[in-house]
Symmetry: C2
Subunit: 409 residues, 2 copies
């Protein structure tokens, strides 16, 4: 075995650009129930088949009137209108409102025929005791259309109300419900294969033989992938043999939208992986000038992106957040994460390596940024982290108290 | 029917405080697979049953040596050590390293017995051609422990590594995997009943009779509830009759952790709801000085919180974000949402009502805050919103260009 230390020359932003170029937004679609649609991406335009609201309706509790009958009234000189009937929400008026009459309506009641405005109950008074057949005093004038929601005002029939590509949040699901729809056509969740690699790893739950460690990366990556709109299937651990790696990669690429190789930390494994990817498809890059996460691999097999992640748990997961998530969200057609970074002061001095872009896992304590990185091999480096800061390649020192931008996971 | 306009006097923050007081964090637990554990809240302490890493291991590709054998070496005067064997990741050394010898190791390899440091491959050279039985020149000294990850350095056996109450993110799931665990005991998702109310509403998918509208609020609320760690079950629509409301509320409270009444916009419906809650349990408040969202109800039935939401879709959903979500996250034991508000300038002048705390739905366009509110009855008021701004009760005007805090949904 010859040990060739990897040359890391590719800048982080360039690596990210290449990775993003290698995936196209997913085209497969599926129908889902409105109850399962939150967070999914709409795949077809939705046009209002009906007016919403489907009829002119009262926007206030009060009395439906002909506005003209109220012009010029005031507390001293109220209009006196004959009450035709009382209608509740969901009921239809039996009689049309004519000059000198009114109908009691509740918020949301269809406006009775003939009426063109609603007087708020606060500005009225019922004469005598019972309302039926009685008279109502109107103390304030209303203009035509006042306190009325016109038919189709919210969503007129025929209008495209949601465009393909929008992510369905509770508000947009409400629009679909308002139109009477129970399902939506959405883009399928991308299916990712997580391919554990390395002779030293054993699946959790099995006994741990001497010299072996449990597979961590497949589980951190699967959790991350599922959080960002895709499905993750953990495949059997790849042994460190070229033929087995070739077979595993081919099968994974044929049956999934994207393949993530979760680890393989030693030079020998990296060499086998490199040879397999070069033989089966096209190697795009191998090695990035970023810390942690340097031994990252990118290739195309059967037209599918294959991403080889660093073997060390902290490196693998930081890479997941900074490189895999943007790729995944492009593939799933999800918008970039919105929550912007927050500027806070460093709790202590912190050094970095010149020439390598660094992602430093941190947490926020009492308004200060506390680095939690121990070493790339330590999963606890990431278990305590709430987010990360970036230290550019040309910076070797961040002073205590210096303000840095924290991106939360 | 007597129409009593509701008195809205309770301040928003006071209403929120009362609502939060009415729920206790959930106590039920369940076991879930590590693959389903993301976003769940750990319900028991996790203690490392084994050391992680389970053995001292090489932190670099290179040669395992006795550090003392390298003291004082340099490029002109290298140490010359006999190579005992080559071990890969996951393999165990057959021989102990003794004075004058070394063993080739890969990153992650268990450190052979006898060795106490690793010399990086970059600082070595193999004499002659093949490695087996040959000699290796060591050009740089190492101190004892250098380039070695000690056994238990990441997680020592017996240490409590995760405390109950932590929310399992990918990093923490990695810790569980590192310990060989395949499941975790987590708090159950709270089960919420969503109880549609109102004679005027019809479930989406059914034909729409005259004067009726589709149920929107049950779907917006269910989407919101599921996004914040709980389950939502939409129950049959409550008719506007006291006995039916009493029966519906009692059943919902008996079988769920929290009951949300999604609507009932008219005074008559509100009166029936009020009477039912007062008769079955304890009414905490009815009406808040907030816009939109004024006709909000809070009560306890069978010890369960019952929240009555405004009937108007925009009011209902804004209330969902500002009042229900904090209550829900306390119940589910989830931390408050982390992403802080972002300060941005208003795109235009905007008025508010003095004496009422206002939540205004907005979206961000070209770095400016654009109000999207049309009217409380319009679901499109919320479909275009990305977040909201708050206008305090003592402010009646926000000028164009004024900087406001946007909280994203």
């Amino acid at each position: 075995m010859s040990m060739k230390p990897m040359k890391a020359s590719l800048a982080f932003e360039e690596a990210k650009r290449i990775l993003l170029e290698c995936v196209a937004p997913i085209e497969r679609t599926e129908r889902v129930s409105l109850l399962e649609a939150a967070g999914r991406v709409l795949a077809e335009p939705v046009t209002a088949p009906v007016d919403v609201p489907p009829f002119a309706r009262a926007a206030m509790d009060g009395y439906a009137v002909i506005a003209e009958n109220t012009f010029g009234v005031n507390n001293a000189n109220p209009a006196r209108l004959t009450l035709l009937e009382v209608i509740h929400a969901g009921e239809i008026a039996r009689q049309a409102v004519a000059a000198g009459t009114c109908t009691q309506v509740a918020t949301g009641s269809p406006l009775p025929a003939g009426a063109d405005a609603v007087v708020q109950v606060e500005n009225t008074e019922v004469e005598g005791g019972g309302p039926a057949g009685g008279r109502v005093r109107i103390y304030s004038p209303v203009y035509p259309g006042q306190n009325v929601s016109k038919r189709g005002r919210d969503l007129p029939a025929g209008r495209e109300v949601l465009a393909p590509g929008v992510c369905l949040d509770p508000g947009k699901i409400g629009v679909l419900a308002a139109l009477g729809l129970t399902q939506a056509t959405v883009y399928a969740r991308p299916s990712l294969a997580v391919l554990p690699s390395g002779n030293e790893i054993v699946p959790p739950g099995e006994p741990l033989p001497p010299g072996k460690i449990y597979d961590i990366n497949s589980f951190t990556l699967s959790a991350l992938i599922r959080t960002h709109g895709a499905t993750a299937t953990i495949l059997p651990i790849l042994p460190d043999r070229l033929e087995a790696v070739r077979r595993g990669l081919t099968e994974a690429a044929e049956t999934h939208d994207l393949v993530v190789i979760s680890g393989g930390s030693s030079v020998g494994e990296r060499d086998v992986m490199l040879e397999a990817v070069e033989g089966l498809g096209e190697l795009k890059f191998h090695g990035i000038a970023v810390k942690p996460g340097q031994p990252t691999l990118c290739g195309l097999i059967r037209g599918k992106l294959v991403v080889g992640m660093p073997g060390y748990p902290a490196s693998c997961l930081i890479n997941g957040y900074t490189l895999l998530v943007p790729v995944l969200r492009k593939l799933a057609r999800l918008p970039a994460c919105k929550a912007g970074p927050v500027e806070l002061p460093m709790s202590r001095r912190c050094t970095s390596t010149l020439g390598r872009h660094q992602y430093l896992p941190v947490r926020v304590e009492r308004g200060e940024v506390v680095p939690v990185f121990k070493e790339s091999g330590a999963i606890t480096s990431m278990a305590d982290a709430e987010g990360y800061i970036e230290i550019p390649a040309n910076v070797d020192l961040v002073e205590k108290g210096e303000r840095v931008l924290v991106t939360f996971f």
